[in-house]
């Protein structure tokens, strides 16, 4: 091997690449970025749409309106590990809309109809309240408006939906336009290699 790269290093990179692909599309696209490169990300503990203790705050849509990419490089993602798989998901339904003949809210919340709801596991056809539901964000439709993120936040939901910069869409501006606009200083940069860390969040600020 030349340039001081050993067989072991190369093997390690292949393994890492496989792991990254397994982590989903964003991680997969990170492989195409140089390991030492920095990328922008949303600190969900700072974003006003997802951080705890913000009951009643207006939804912030700056991630949608400020990103230089059409339809924004920021999208909502749902962490299935943390999702309650609720019958009435406040991120899927407009829970203030009139109840329909099924006993469910008559309107959806997402203005782009970007969330898919599917019963999973054992399905009781007679009483749908008995079922668990999977909520999948169809990212190609989502523009990161944050409505579902705010609705899913504790204590109304479980906070499983958050906004994330999708690295396959982001064009890596030197100074992220959202970071300039964000009133909560929630955009930060991290090294591509750090994307492998399971808990990626900026260190607490003084």
């Amino acid at each position: 091997m030349s340039d001081g790269i050993t067989r072991r290093d190369a093997l390690g990179r292949v393994v890492r690449g496989t792991v990254l692909l397994g982590l989903g599309s964003t991680a997969g696209f990170l492989i195409n970025k140089a390991e030492g490169q920095v990328v922008w990300q949303v600190d969900t503990s700072r974003c006003v749409n997802s951080r705890l203790g913000e009951a009643g705050a207006e939804v912030c849509m700056l991630c949608t309106t400020q990103c230089v990419v059409a339809q924004s490089a920021v999208r909502a993602i749902n962490s299935f590990r943390d999702c309650g798989r609720c019958y009435v998901c406040p991120a899927y339904y407009n829970i203030r809309s009139a109840v329909d003949e099924r006993g469910l809210p008559s309107e959806k919340l997402c203005p782009r109809d970007a969330i898919r709801r599917t019963p999973i596991g054992f399905v009781d056809p007679e009483d749908p309240a008995n079922n668990f539901y999977e909520y999948v964000i169809e990212e190609e439709k989502c523009d990161g408006c944050g409505l579902c993120v705010k609705a899913c936040r504790e204590p109304l939901g479980l906070g499983s939906i958050v906004l994330k910069v999708r690295h396959n869409l982001c064009v890596d501006c030197n100074r992220c336009a959202i970071s300039i606009a964000c009133p909560h200083d929630a955009l930060f940069q991290h090294k591509v290699a750090d994307a492998l860390e399971p808990t990626l969040a900026r260190q607490p600020q003084p």
Partner: protein, 279 residues
């Protein structure tokens, strides 16, 4: 909705460091003499019917729930165990079972039996008075049991010996017999009509009074309501006064009809009574 109206009373006292909870306030109960029992941190606190601190003692683990039986024994539900104290706070017994008593978020009594809610396994356990396990309730059915994204099992036994159990993911209160027969349910989802249960999962907590009325708390937005046994809404007790981030606000009702509710964010116990009730 009925014409009953409630007014807010002063909070159960927290003047002085001993009467305050420092980090957590989870469980609430009243005994037959209307004394108020609260657990949180790793302590039991007992207040008299006027809210003055009477007694306090430590628990070995932080309490999640509390109940008092007819002999004034105090049962504290914790993670992995149930501690039983006599009226003076002396530890009388500990029931340990890592899987059956994973996280005990509710306790009540039926005849001589002790019923405990295990939130980890989404089940109500029935024990005899000596701590011998008898059967599960609400777990082994085709309805997927209790759906509790809010993280607590909550129930109360009414005057007829029926278990009234919150099933918040289904927006219902389900009725079970001691031998695990589902008798039916009341409640429905509605995000606008106060007679319904809003949000993803409500009601979170409940209590019953001697007349069979069911008192519930809801999260996001915090609200306290009373229903008749047939599911008709009697009154909205309160929809303000709580921290908006509250959830799993425990509730208890005394013999005078006073309603006590925890605010687990501000670590307060709020009190309400009907307009015109003699204080």
């Amino acid at each position: 909705m009925g014409s009953m109206h409630y007014r807010r009373l002063p909070n159960v006292r927290r003047d002085g460091p001993d009467s305050r909870f420092a980090t957590a306030l989870r469980g609430l109960a009243v005994d037959r003499r209307d004394r108020i029992y609260a657990v949180g941190d790793a302590e039991v606190k007992i207040f008299d019917r006027d809210g003055r601190l009477q007694r306090r003692w430590p628990t070995s683990r932080p309490g999640c729930s509390v109940a008092v039986d007819e002999y004034d024994r105090v049962y504290v539900g914790e993670t992995g165990q149930l501690e039983i104290f006599d009226a003076t706070g002396r530890l009388a017994d500990v029931w340990r079972h890592a899987s059956r008593l994973g996280r005990v978020t509710a306790i009540d009594f039926a005849g001589g039996d002790v019923l405990v809610g295990d939130a980890n396994d989404r089940a109500i356990r029935r024990y005899d008075e000596h701590g011998s396990f008898m059967n599960d309730i609400g777990k082994n059915n085709r309805m997927q049991g209790f759906l509790i994204p809010n993280g607590v099992i909550e129930f109360a036994v009414d005057r007829a010996g029926v278990i009234q159990a919150a099933n918040p993911g289904k927006h219902r209160i389900e009725r079970y017999t001691l031998d695990d027969r589902l008798l039916g349910h009341i409640g429905r989802f509605d995000g606008v009509d106060p007679a319904g249960f809003p949000g993803c999962c409500n009601p979170t907590n409940l209590a019953v009074d001697v007349r069979g009325r069911i008192y519930v708390t809801e999260k996001a937005d915090p609200r306290v309501k009373v229903y008749n046994d047939d599911g008709t809404l009697v009154a909205v007790v309160a929809s303000e006064g709580f921290d908006p981030n509250c959830k799993n606000m425990d509730i208890a009702v005394d013999s005078r009809g006073r309603v006590y509710v925890t605010d687990p964010v501000r670590l307060d116990i709020l009190a309400f009574e009907t307009e015109g009730a003699a204080s």
